[in-house]
Symmetry: none
Subunit: 222 residues, 2 copies
Amino acid sequence: MKLLIVDDEKLIRDVITEYANHEKFETVQASDGEEALNIIAKENIDLVVLDIMMPKMDGLTFLKEMKKVKNIPVIILSARSEEYDKLIGFDLGTDDYLTKPFSPKELIARIKAILKRSGKGLNDYYEYKTLKIDYNAHSVYINNNEIKLTPKEYELLCFFVQNENIALSREQLLSNLWGYDFFGDDRTVDTHIKMLRNNLGPYRDLIITVRGVGYKFVPNQD
Amino acid sequence: MKLLIVDDEKLIRDVITEYANHEKFETVQASDGEEALNIIAKENIDLVVLDIMMPKMDGLTFLKEMKKVKNIPVIILSARSEEYDKLIGFDLGTDDYLTKPFSPKELIARIKAILKRSGKGLNDYYEYKTLKIDYNAHSVYINNNEIKLTPKEYELLCFFVQNENIALSREQLLSNLWGYDFFGDDRTVDTHIKMLRNNLGPYRDLIITVRGVGYKFVPNQD
DNA sequence: TATTTTTTTGATATAGTTTTTATAAGGAGG
DNA sequence: CCTCCTTATAAAAACTATATCAAAAAAATA
């Protein structure tokens, strides 16, 4: 997943780059539209983060030129929100805009959303047989029917899924899901396990009791 | 918004038609230049999608004839990119070209861009059952009756629509709709959600509370 | 500037979730 | 087969998050 970051300010480019790398995206930088077009032609870019205000070739010009060649999704950074009616030709279905100043976190969220929308992987699901977790929606389905879990049950399930086939002690569960400073009873875990199992219906047996230790999540058992 | 699609290959006409209809454009087809000219004369066409290579009357001839009568914007489809130097005299301000093979998505984007440029208020709607957002008018309708939303409620709804099926935290909503530098109370979001729900009447349940997280917009639930 | 509309705040009510407590059930070892 | 220890279950109590309301503040409009 490779991003092209186009902005005339090095500082902004670097900030975005850092955040993007942190999220395991590859990145390439360009300081103006011309450079960006060259990169687009040569490299396989999945998404462009584009500042509209740039010297030399401005963002909109670049955008038009680029869209003639390739239909890569774009996130446009613009200074004021009123300006976005100027963004003629930008495909609301594919692209997105963000008004400055923006939080890098927000940008990353948008990037993920767009990549997801444009079908480039990043589908955030867990699936085992007909059990499905949609991490974005925070929903869990069995046979495409949503089963309603409370927040703790959902967290618990996600944690099990993340640690499948590993026996987790009650202490581990408590410190990971409740916080290291939680001093509650061990029965608390049991109760949540019970409720989660009930809600998992036919999949209740995926959560196996490991006597004297705790619990483990084991798909693919026969 | 009515498009005329001119191409000798039925397959291509149909593909384009399908995509265009999906975007709520009306469409008419013609298999050659002559037929196209007749349609132009009779019907009120807003944009022409034209294949240059055609038997009988070729695209360029049609183009010249048409431009004598009406100045309808045209998107030209040409087989190879080298050929477009032949397109001398075609109005780059109004028209556009696309080399085959092209992605239908790309074509739709161009169509929208051109219609927007030529001032033909492009219809930009979101629709779910009888709930309709007219993005140009900034209006929302239920059963064709306008429901009056305050600016924040409207923004909120649009943002939800853009992020359907994704649980959005109050922080995300605040930073997206209020600005990253807004340090208000979380209850602010709740209050706006409440008012939006009230205004959505029968559609109030599209906004689902995700306990411990925030809210999500979920159409198509049963 | 005055008036109206919209937004925000803070208090309270309500609904939903978590934790505790008590008891029952199940397995392991003597 | 009985006892001890662990886990399962159920229901009540404690707690937390959300919904709602009304009033104050801010913003938009006249």
